[in-house]
């Protein structure tokens, strides 16, 4: 029987948060794209917590949206509770977060993917990667799938999440699989090893899910959504759906006692799991051991959707055996009679240390092969989506024979994310924090469109309608600034008056009635620009210093061993990371200013000779 061959420009394997954004981005840019997943029923599935956004993560969602991505629109359509976190702090800290109706979210993503021109969503089990050439000349040609068919393309994006060699642990019980009820993909992991990729292992945990019908809500604290919910997408004008509440309860000394008594049965303490997990999302057993002096820990009870009683218990991720999980819950106020619907478990999985990637997320080892999402050692839907978008866009750019597009650290959290990954790697599942961004005051959730949409349009990620929306807002801002500069308050230009901390936009509109015509979004941007001009200016100065180094590109395959006086450690690190610019080189840990000076001297030496 002759083998069936399907030709494409870009093939994406895995339809989670990275895969769907990657496929949609490539297709938006005109690449003929196939999105392959082992089952069409889990496209865009939220396999862990039922929430999108949060501090730093919410900023990433806004950036994905500003570049035309799916996540912001999907959560706006299916969110059941919206809150702007850090509202009382400055605008750089404002972070949108929403509880999602999990199933509705997943359906929305699937629908958007199905609806995307240039994109074919197909149920296929990928069995092997098809590559050609040896060593540094190796290129990807496509993938073979179960049933004797081949997908052929110059670019393949792997977004396989936790499914590589995954093992789930609940107490002593071990199951192969990347997500409760699903299998694992062992073959791809082996294929990557055979291609010479270094593979390491991480672990992460999930909490139990309870039946909300059996929770005594009266004993818990209610946590409602915002009265005026703010959308994630720059295209959404207003959120109109009704909102659900979340609830808070606490663990106590008796709970901690049971956990301590059963530590030997927790795989993470018994030695059954020895891979590294995240420090910021410790299991309840970890919290009890490491913070022994705390006599209670918060538990957030989050609804998983409108059409289910399932409740996610955020804050109690665990690998303890099921009988211990039951005992613990009996002692938590409100959960005394709660029925477990799914037990918590820990999952161990393979990932591919991301220093093996270029900043545009193509592997250094195999041309045309891209990796995005949890396979790169990250955690979180938002981090996955951001990487997916970058990988998809750059696969499409490669097909079109164009230069890569990667936002810089001063342009986007997504830029911080990919730069951290490829320059420093990670020794725990990588999650974004605002403290990772040195230009935090520039990277606000409110200005993501101003930072990214125009450039997104230039590379083909953003359509004309979205760009027009941005331009309209910028015109409104321009107009508002002109009004402010023309008006005077207390014998000074009105924009100077607005700088005072106690003065808000409302007062300005009372003093200058013309301003009332400025739409809220534009007004907010003008207010922030004026109020924070000094701080923004200082960070901009830092940025422009760095830009001079960033402009100094290092040619590919630059021979660091040829620089005799360079320290051996520097030679090794630089050769491994292969930084593209002097700015990136300087961010490699252990590289000194003197090393940079030597490399710089050599770059110029090469140029003049």
């Amino acid at each position: 029987m002759p083998e069936t061959v399907y030709p494409y420009d870009v093939i994406v394997i895995g339809a989670g948060h990275a895969g769907t954004e990657a496929a949609a981005a490539a297709a938006r840019m005109g690449a003929h794209t196939a999105l392959l997943t082992t089952t069409l029923d889990t496209v865009g599935q939220m396999s862990c917590n039922p929430a999108i956004g949060g501090v730093a993560k919410g900023q990433i969602v806004r950036e994905v949206d500003a570049l035309g991505g799916l996540m912001g629109r999907a959560i706006d359509a299916t969110g059941v509770q919206f809150r702007l976190l850090n509202r009382r702090k400055g605008p750089a800290m404002h972070s949108p977060r929403a509880q999602a109706d999990k199933k509705a979210y997943q359906n929305e993503i699937k629908w958007q993917v199905e609806d995307q021109p240039n994109l074919d969503l197909r149920q296929e089990t990928v069995e092997s990667l098809w590559t050609e050439g040896e060593e540094e000349n190796r290129v990807v040609r496509g993938v073979q799938v179960r049933g004797g068919a081949t997908y052929q393309a110059p670019c393949v994006i792997l977004t396989t999440g936790t499914f590589l060699q995954a093992v789930m642990h609940t107490g002593e019980a071990k199951t192969a699989g990347g997500r409760a009820g699903e299998g694992t993909t062992a073959g791809l992991s082996g294929a990557l090893r055979e291609l010479g990729f270094e593979i390491e292992r991480f672990k992460t945990g999930t909490p139990p899910r309870l039946s909300g019908r059996t929770i005594d809500w009266a004993q818990t604290e209610r946590q409602p959504g915002d009265e005026q919910p703010q959308p994630f997408s720059f295209l959404t004008d207003r959120l109109t759906q009704s909102q659900l509440d979340c609830y808070i309860t606490y663990t106590n000394d008796r709970v901690h006692g049971i956990i301590r008594d059963n530590l030997h049965r927790a795989p993470m303490y018994s030695g059954q799991i020895d891979s590294r997990g995240p420090r910021y999302c410790p299991s309840i057993e970890d919290k009890v051991v490491r913070f022994a002096d705390k006599n209670q820990h918060q538990l957030f009870l989050e609804p998983e959707g409108r059409q289910t009683h399932e409740v996610y218990v955020n804050g109690i991720s665990t690998s303890l055996p099921r009988d211990v999980q039951d005992q613990i819950l009996r002692l938590v106020p409100g959960l005394e009679n709660a029925q477990v619907m799914r037990y918590g478990y820990a999952v161990e999985y393979d990932f591919c240390p991301p220093t093996q990637l270029w900043p545009h997320l193509e592997t250094k080892r195999v041309r045309g092969l891209f990796l995005a999402g949890q396979i790169n050692g990250t955690t979180g839907y938002e981090e996955a989506a951001g990487q997916g978008l970058i990988a998809g866009a750059n696969a499409a750019l490669r097909c079109a024979g164009k230069e890569p597009y990667v936002p810089e650290r001063d342009e986007a959290y997504i830029g911080v994310l990919v730069d951290d990954l490829v320059t420093a790697g990670t020794d725990e599942p990588y999650r974004m924090f605002t403290s990772r961004a040195e230009y935090r005051l520039l990277l606000r959730q409110d200005n993501a469109d101003r930072r990214l949409t125009r450039r997104g349009h230039e590379v083909g990620l953003v359509d004309a309608a979205r760009l027009a929306r941005l331009e309209e807002k910028e015109q409104q801002m321009q107009r508002a600034v002109e009004i402010l500069q023309a008006a005077r308050i207390e014998a000074a230009p009105a924009d100077r008056y607005l700088k005072r901390p106690e003065v808000g936009w409302e007062e300005m509109t009372q003093r200058i009635p013309e301003l009332a015509a400025v739409p809220a979004e534009a007004a907010q941007q003008v207010e922030y620009d004026i109020k924070y001009a000094g701080y923004i200016g200082r960070q901009q100065q830092e940025v422009s210093k760095q830009q001079r180094l960033a402009a100094r590109r290092i040619p590919p395959a630059f021979d660091y061993h040829g620089i005799t006086p360079l320290r051996n450690e520097a030679k090794q690190k630089l050769s491994e990371i292969q930084p593209l610019t002097l700015a990136q080189a300087r961010r490699i840990s252990g590289i000194t200013p003197a090393d940079i000076a030597l490399v710089m001297a050599h770059l110029d030496g090469k140029r003049s000779s």
Binding site: G90, A597, M600, A601
Partner: protein, 451 residues
């Protein structure tokens, strides 16, 4: 190394004790900065390089100093930039003060090798020459930093390290409150934050004050003599310095404390340090003397390992990077035929006799040669490093001040944090440490983050 467009300055004359000292300045702002420190006429050439008279106001107590400046008003200089050389009286405190004045007017203290790098980028040096200088900067930089902290600021690296740790702790409190808003974390109260910042500011100012007081003392390169007791170190030191500083007896172990004396070796004026002999300390006084000796040794620009010619047991050579010379002493005591043949050339040891003067000139030359190599590097000098430390501390102080004024003005914690980060990175310039991972480490070890 990054900012080729910054205007940098440093004391450029290496040899101490010369009649004339040189301060170099290079970068687009050089002339503007010079004009702002010049008291006399500033009707300077627009195109051709020329020597002009200089009257520089160095403030109290130095007053106005007279000298000359060699100006390159166009980029056709050694560094390929607008540049100048200030020729001033060869007195270190005065040269340091001149550098400080230039920094106050907008120049930045040059980092080690920075003039060389610019000269290379301007095509004035070839790659091999540039590499030769840049390749050794690292070790040298670390060394001069240590020296500045230990020698000039004596014991200040400790307080600075503690201060940095305190600021990091403080910042991690702030950051935890910003990044982990949903956790039940006890946030730091504004009053507490202000008190801590106020304290940091005071400590920084104290350190800065101590640094500037000590910077201006003459900081001569140190030549340290080491060897077993009665290896003849003290006598050798006397001969080298031409005086009798150390008490010299024939009883082994006479020298208990590092004794310092000055000497002129070639173009260099140096401080000689004779340390207590290397031996296991028998009593506490001896042990203390040993410790002092080791500390002196660590600051050495050049080290002399001394061995009695009659002592058959050779000494293990030290393993660190300090340039070291091996000296055989008391060669006059060797049997006549043995003494006649000089081993120096064959085994790398220099044969000397403090009594007959044998080999002393050769030793002087060897030390001077090493000093030429060690010290003749732009801004690699202790004074240059001190100037850089001072500038970084000033930056840190300004940032902490700004953090406090943001706090008082009701600005957000993220703005306070931004200033604190600037302060920490300025301190990091001095201590050589970066901070981002530190903050996350601190947060995760202190707070239970778990949502």
């Amino acid at each position: 190394m990054s900012d080729i467009e910054d205007t940098i300055c440093a004391v450029a004359s290496a040899a101490v004790g010369a009649a004339q000292g040189i301060v170099r300045i290079s970068g687009p702002d050089s002339l503007r900065i010079l004009r702002s420190v010049q008291r006399g006429q500033t009707d300077w050439p627009q195109r051709a390089p020329r020597r002009v008279p200089l009257e520089m106001d160095l403030g109290s107590p130095l007053g106005t100093v007279h000298g000359s400046a060699l100006l390159w008003p166009t980029p056709r200089s050694y560094t390929g930039q607008v540049a100048a050389e200030l020729h001033l009286p060869g007195c270190l405190p005065l040269l340091d003060a001149a550098v400080e004045r230039l920094i106050a007017s907008g120049a930045r203290p040059a980092r080690p090798g920075e003039f060389t790098l610019r000269a290379f980028l301007a095509g004035r040096l070839d790659l091999t020459q540039a590499e030769a200088v840049l390749g050794v900067i690292d070790a040298d930089d670390r060394r001069s930093l240590d020296t500045a902290l230990e020698q000039l600021a004596g014991g200040l690296s400790g307080p600075l390290g503690r201060l940095r740790a305190d600021l990091l702790d403080l910042l991690s409190h702030l950051e935890a409150g910003l990044d982990f808003v949903e956790e039940d974390i006890q946030f730091i109260a504004p009053e507490e934050l202000d008190a801590a910042l106020c304290d940091a500011q005071r400590q920084l100012q104290t350190i800065r004050g101590q640094l500037s007081r000590r910077t201006s003392s003459a900081d001569l390169p140190l030549v340290v003599l080491r060897g077993k007791p009665n290896a003849g170190k003290s006598r050798l030191m006397n001969v080298l310095s031409g005086a009798s500083a150390a008490i010299v007896t024939d009883v082994a172990g006479t020298t208990r404390d590092p004794v310092h004396w000055q000497a002129n070796l070639g173009r260099h004026r140096v401080q000689l340090a004779d340390t207590a002999g290397i031996e296991a300390g028998r009593d506490s006084i001896e042990r203390r003397a040993q410790t002092a000796g080791v500390q002196t040794d660590r600051r050495a620009a050049v080290r002399l390992i001394c061995q009695d010619a009659l002592d058959p047991a050779p000494q293990a050579p030290p393993t660190d990077a300090t340039p070291t010379l091996f000296v055989r002493t008391k060669c006059d005591l060797l049997a006549a035929d043995d003494a006649a043949k000089d081993h120096s050339a064959s085994d790398g040891w220099i044969d000397t006799s403090s009594l007959s003067g044998q080999g002393i000139d050769r030793l002087r030359e060897a030390i001077a040669e090493l000093l030429d190599r060690v010290l003749h590097r732009d801004a690699g000098s202790v004074a240059g490093t001190a100037a850089r430390c001072a500038a970084s501390l000033d930056e840190a102080i300004a940032a902490v001040e700004e953090a406090r004024s943001v706090l008082h003005g009701g600005g957000g914690e993220e703005l306070v944090a931004a200033e604190m980060r600037l302060a920490l990175s300025a301190i990091g310039e001095v201590t050589g440490e970066v901070y981002t991972d530190d903050i996350l480490d601190r947060i995760f070890s202190r707070f239970c983050i778990g949502k």
